[in-house]
Symmetry: C2
Subunit: 408 residues, 2 copies
């Protein structure tokens, strides 16, 4: 059987990791294509691939991914069997439509968002993606939603706990800590426009069988984690809380994001002054300006942080449940190192943890293991093949359970 060609859509920090990881695992795929609205950014990624000595066939393309006709035409033109969508949050539905029409597998890493809304409210996957489930199944394509780290690997952790630890799951606490240091006064690890949007709205969690609402930074808890030690994390909203709450509806499902006091202070000042607003203000000179775009302009480019980034991330699931009526818990986690990520693919650890998993998903689709010909979130798919492959690809999973701290 011929190898499937892969089309990567997007050319930001995560797309860079996806391209490099796909190139490292070139034996699994046919040709590699990178498409972006601004083609020069895709060209820049291709150049870094060549600089690293990769010699599989690459091509770059200009693509308006908001237009499903263009997406369909490009998939057909390059004969892509797998599309990895790591562009903006606004293009999921048009890219998925293109895949349905052209018969390609679809993989993304975050929920669709409407550019006109500041924050999407639950049920997140229910707002857009899951409405296309029947169309995906009818087309006979595989569509894997949320296949980054969180969502993505953390969903697989929950499924592994279901498969190998418990017959009943009572709680899933996802904890995401970046204990790394970029050496700057302040920076965001992703595009500030996306990064801050996560924190400016209401925080949703699934507790006691229903959605609970809190304000950002209202509920904090100190966690004592492997390698990174004691770290404070705050209840935050995140895509996977929705899909996990559907599969594990009797469990409390919460997402905890780590923030240092300095980050919270800077964020709070900017937020309270109105500088994170997406609504334009008018200067005394009459110029219309969106404050958030100015904040973005003065902050460091997230990609520029990579060479100096040191320290580690720890992301994991504390899963509580019971087996044969006996209560227990397991912490399934990965520790990633910023410097190792940079040496491997030229990116910092945050982009690395987000960009390697969709390539693992693509390999499993290519191999057939995950080519399920329907729409699936990661917890709907076998977890162990995914996690073992990720171990080979640079993101090993460990477990802390009754037997101590060990590889899975």
């Amino acid at each position: 059987m011929p190898k499937k060609n892969v089309l990567i859509i997007g050319a930001g920090g995560v797309a860079h990791v996806v391209a490099h990881k796909a190139a490292q695992w070139a034996a699994e795929f046919g040709d590699l294509h990178i498409a972006n609205r601004t083609r020069s950014k895709a060209d820049a990624i291709v150049q870094t691939l060549r600089d690293k000595g990769h010699d599989m066939p690459f091509a770059s393309h200009a693509l308006d991914a908001m237009n499903p006709d263009e997406v369909e035409a490009l998939i057909r033109k390059v004969d892509a069997g797998i599309v990895i969508n790591v562009g903006t949050a606004f293009i999921n539905m048009t890219v998925l439509e293109g895949c349905i029409r052209a018969g390609a597998a679809y993989i993304d890493t975050a929920i669709h968002e409407d550019p006109a809304k500041i924050c999407e409210t639950p049920p997140w996957y229910g707002n857009y993606e899951w409405k296309r489930r029947e169309d995906v199944e009818r087309a006979g394509i595989t569509a894997i939603l949320g296949a980054g780290f969180d969502p993505g690997v953390v969903n697989a952790y929950a499924r592994l706990a279901e498969d190998e630890y418990f017959d009943r799951i009572d709680g899933i606490d996802i904890v995401d800590i970046n204990a790394g240091s970029h050496g700057r006064y302040f920076a965001t690890n992703f595009d500030p426009e996306i990064n801050f949007r996560e924190f400016t709205g209401t925080v949703y969690s699934w507790q006691g069988g229903e959605w609970r609402e809190n304000r950002m930074f209202e509920v904090g808890r100190e966690w004592d984690l492997p390698v990174v030690g004691k770290q404070k994390a705050y209840l935050s909203g995140h895509d996977e809380v929705h899909s996990l709450s559907v599969r594990y509806k009797d469990a409390d499902v919460r997402f905890w994001m780590g923030f240092g006091d300095h980050y919270i202070n800077v964020f709070t000042v900017l937020q309270n002054l109105g500088l994170l607003s997406e609504q334009p203000v008018r200067t005394a000179e009459g110029q219309e300006v969106v404050p958030l775009k100015v904040v973005k302009a003065v902050l460091p480019d997230p990609a520029s942080l990579a060479p100096d980034y040191t320290g580690k991330t720890c992301i994991g699931d504390l899963v509580k449940g019971s087996l044969d009526g006996k209560a227990g818990e397991v912490f399934l986690y990965n520790v990633a190192d910023h410097r190792e990520a940079f040496e491997d693919v030229g990116s910092q650890g945050i982009s690395y943890t987000a960009g390697v998993p969709p390539v693992a998903a693509a390999i499993l689709v290519a191999r057939g293991t995950w080519d399920v010909r329907k729409m699936a979130n990661v917890e709907d798919l076998p977890a162990r093949p995914f996690l073992e492959l990720l171990g080979d690809m640079g993101l090993p999973t460990r477990a802390i359970d009754a037997d101590g701290d060990h590889p899975i």
Copy 2:
């Protein structure tokens, strides 16, 4: 002798106070004129005068005060005997030139600044104003520099200590505390563009007979002051340190500005992120924007703070010296109340303390007491008539000395 007509240049918060106080003391003057680049702002002040029931003759004028020909022409047209310049810091030299040519007295409240520079460095008065001393004397006009509160009244406090307390002055510590509350998350009391410029450069003080340099917020000291109590203030640069260091060259002359921890935190975040920069940045969309102008646009208009402003200011000089070889010290000070200022002229206390003194100076020029027909800083002029008049006008002076805390 006919009363002198007064021309106020500027139409900001301080100009508002100047206009109202001049109207309250209308018997001292002839007609009142207000000129501003945007005439509608001058009209708005005239309207508030009429709303308060003042019925002296007022007129407003459009004026480009950067053009000395226009300044001269307007002075001649309205037959102004006294010009009170409370416009931007960039117009001092052109307004002074207009006064020299047209033979009018000149009064200002702050040093001239070059719009192309971020911060002027010492010797401040020596950079621009004092270069025109001979021209002023030759023209036979009176030019009083820095006749606000600080500089201005605090210079008179130093002179009063010289006249009535000591034959040798060893130290002048000027302390400016605003213990008021505007009830907003954050606001500046003056135009943010001017306000922040004061703190973004090097801090200069006169100690041990020479200029010392520090960073802003590097040197702080807690002061225990009348009415406002214990307050932290930081060594800051200020115009009057220069002129006082020339008259009292053997004394240490320092200026201390009070800042709460919250103010410093917000300032520090904005400063470190680059959001106080006057250099344009380019957004991802290609728009050229000056960050400081966006910060200004999101902050409350300083004038809007007045109705809700509560609490008091305390500004004074701790003067150390000796008389007949016997060491001593005196603290000369004023306490002003934000709410009383609002009831008197519709402004908050910061604008009030800055705007009343130049009107007192104008009255003394009109009466002849200060009509010295040369260029003078306030410490060069008799202090007691100025301070006693200010007491009648709403800014009484008190002294803490060996006899306790009492009016001067």
